[in-house]
């Protein structure tokens, strides 16, 4: 038997924080690739501390629903899971390349735990950003005549965060699909506040590389970009700003295709998932647009 455990941050204040985690878990559960699909949270329950004891299967694939490698994936999650002999060096990562390690956990010594790298740095994540742009514009071929901005925190909180943003921005640029692609940040240059300065294209899709919608994606970024003076009043998609049309996508993690990245992570670590990837790609195609 094999189980998938998705671990995420969660929130004491915002019920939407865990929604993407549950949604992706449900998508994967429905395609039947795992005998069990469980979720665990830093701020909600079951806690990451106790999630492994809710699992029956003896092979457990743990996928962190986080954007970048750093404090959570390297310290908090391994500690809370009680991974035996965890050493971040085993990931042998340059900040983007953590794939998986196989260990045991003191909490459930009879089980094998495959601890995977975060979803945000997987190459499949690039496709999710593009899919998000398709969802928000309602155009499966969006690209020509459009600029695309990938937005993250800057390096202030986590030096790997900017690496992940750059990585995906570069990959999308290499696709030659959008007229322009730009990485933007919340707390360093180039800043998301000045989004219109960085694009010639009239239409700009803005995709924040965040797992869940919350304070940053729903309040900060829309106000900083000038979509609205007060986030509580909402904003249109697209919104005209300085002669550009801004298609603001909200957190990329809410895109249904994220389930695909979770599966890829587990498959890279050795999970047998059959045709689940194709099924998930197919089933998540018609995701509702942001703001719906």
């Amino acid at each position: 038997m094999q189980a998938l455990v998705i671990v995420a941050h969660g929130s004491h204040l915002n019920p939407d924080s865990s929604t993407p985690t549950y949604d992706h878990a449900d998508t994967i559960r429905e395609v039947g690739a795992f005998d069990e699909v469980r979720t665990g949270f830093w701020k909600e329950e079951p806690s990451i501390r106790e999630v492994l004891r809710t699992v029956e299967a003896d092979e457990v694939y743990v996928v962190p629903l986080f954007i970048s490698e750093g404090y959570f994936t390297e310290q908090v999650i391994p500690r809370e899971l009680r991974l035996d002999g965890w050493d971040v060096a085993d990931w042998d990562s340059d900040g983007l390349s953590a794939s998986h390690v196989t260990l045991t956990a003191d909490d459930v010594p009879e089980k094998t735990v495959h601890y995977c790298g975060p979803v945000g740095t997987h190459e499949a994540m690039t496709d999710v950003i593009v899919r998000r742009a398709e969802s928000v514009t309602g155009d499966p071929n969006v690209g020509e005549g459009f600029g695309l901005a990938v937005v993250g925190h800057g390096t202030e909180r986590n030096e790997n965060s900017a690496k992940a943003i750059e990585y995906h921005a570069n990959r999308i640029r290499d696709m030659d699909r959008f007229d322009e692609v730009q990485a933007l940040y919340m707390d360093e240059d180039p800043e998301v506040d000045d989004v219109t300065d960085y694009f010639e294209s009239e239409d700009i899709v803005v995709v924040p590389l965040f797992i869940a919608d919350g304070f940053h994606t729903q309040e900060d970024i829309p106000e900083d970009m000038g979509l609205t003076d007060d986030y509580r009043d909402g904003y249109d998609i697209p919104t005209e700003v300085d002669g550009h049309r801004i298609w603001y996508a909200g957190a990329v993690g809410t895109e249904g295709l994220m389930a695909d990245v979770v599966l890829e992570r587990a498959a890279d670590a050795g999970a047998e998932i059959g045709d689940a990837l194709e099924l998930v790609r197919e089933r998540t195609r018609a995701t509702p647009q942001a703001g719906d």
């Binding site: 929130s11 004491h12 204040l13 915002n14 019920p15 549950y22 449900d26 830093w42 701020k43 909600e44 329950e45 079951p46 806690s47 501390r49 106790e50 999630v51 004891r53 809710t54 029956e56 404090y71 310290q75 908090v76 500690r79 909490d107």
Partner: protein, 362 residues
């Protein structure tokens, strides 16, 4: 029906069968069938089959526990057996009780186990406060994961950050769960409650006390460690009284200050244990660590005795979440809104300072 008897006879041909007072053994003289009040020896396979027909409840009971529930998850099995008092009551009594419905409470959940004519169990799960409500007057659900939404908001639609908070809303019912789905649903309302309860019964619950849990924290939570200054644990008593009391959380707090030092407040009567301070307690304690780092100061206020009493009433009402119960015109209640507004109008200056006394020196 009858496949349970076929299965039992087949199992007895392989090995002795023993469960809940039923024993079927095999020797050179044939099969022996025993229950607490009967004994049949020297039975052929056909005779065993016939004899079992007279002990159908024992036979279906064996079938349910060995085949339907099985051993794949010891914690699920233990929980389902607890729900119907298996091991505690003999099969005939237990079956009689199951025909009427056996009730158990699990936090704010009420589980009713019943049985049909074939020994098949089914479970009704609802809020404890809805015990007497007709099943047709509650919103029915059948999928365990539906519990996720029901657990997210309290009666007033506010987000519940703690799944075991004593503010689960009612009005719903899962009228006919099977055993597996019952456990899934219970675990969706109260994650990890069954495994922790099971570990406690087995004597293997890994309780982690305040000192250890706080010591493990890093990053923004590492500061809580400074709240422990090696001189007593009164501050942790206050934390437990504020958050873990039965009126706030349905878990039974098993963690203490450290290995040797128990807290002075009671851990509560919850059915299932809490094995370490939860993330909500940690987050609140970080705030308290900062607040409790302040030195006290002497302020001088003039209050009438009734005003002092009223301040106390307001604190009590907020702490016990009674604000909504206080009627608008009930001016006899110190925490009544008009009384409180009057107090503010009289005692606050334009900056919101009580009796015009600034919080910080000017």
């Amino acid at each position: 029906m009858g496949h349970h008897i076929d299965a039992l006879v087949a199992a007895a041909a392989d090995d002795d069968v023993r469960l809940d007072g039923l024993e079927v053994t095999q020797s050179d003289d044939g099969y022996t069938l025993e229950t607490p009040d009967s004994h049949h020896a020297g039975l052929s396979e056909d005779a065993l089959r016939d004899a079992l027909g007279d002990y159908d409840d024992y036979a279906t009971n064996w079938y349910v526990w060995s085949t339907v529930v099985g051993e794949s998850s010891p914690q699920r099995r233990a929980f389902l057996r607890w729900v119907e008092g298996a091991g505690k009551y003999a099969v005939p009594e237990r079956y009689d009780a199951l025909r009427d419905g056996i009730h158990h409470e699990w936090g704010q959940l009420r589980i009713t186990a019943t049985i049909d004519g074939h020994g098949e169990r089914s479970y009704d799960l609802r809020h404890v406060d809805d015990a007497d409500i007709d099943v047709d007057d509650l919103d029915p659900y059948h999928e365990p994961l539906a519990a996720r939404q029901l657990a997210t908001y309290d009666e007033k639609g506010r987000y519940r950050p703690l799944k075991t908070g004593a503010n689960l809303a009612g009005g719903w019912v899962f009228p006919d769960l099977d055993g597996r789905d019952l456990v899934e649903t219970v675990e969706t309302f109260y994650p990890a409650s069954v495994p922790n309860w099971f570990r406690e019964r087995e004597g293997t619950l890994d309780v982690e006390h305040w000192e250890d849990t706080i010591g493990r924290q890093t990053g923004m939570y590492s500061v809580i460690d400074t709240w422990n200054r090696g001189d007593g644990h009164e501050h942790v008593n206050w934390v437990a009284e504020a958050c873990c009391d039965d009126s706030q959380c349905v878990k039974r707090r098993e963690w203490e200050y450290d290995d040797e030092t128990d807290l002075d407040v009671d851990g509560g009567d919850g059915v299932f244990p809490c094995r370490e301070p939860c993330s909500l307690v940690i987050a609140a304690s970080r705030k308290w660590t900062r607040l409790e780092g302040e030195e006290t100061k002497t302020y001088e206020f003039e209050l009438t005795p009734s005003e002092k009493q009223q301040v106390e009433d307001i604190i009590e009402a907020v702490a016990d979440d009674r604000i909504d119960e206080i009627r608008e015109a009930d001016v006899y209640e110190g925490s009544n809104r008009y009384r409180t507004r009057f107090l503010r109008a009289k005692l606050f200056d334009e900056d919101g300072n009580l009796c015009g006394v600034p919080t910080e020196d000017e």
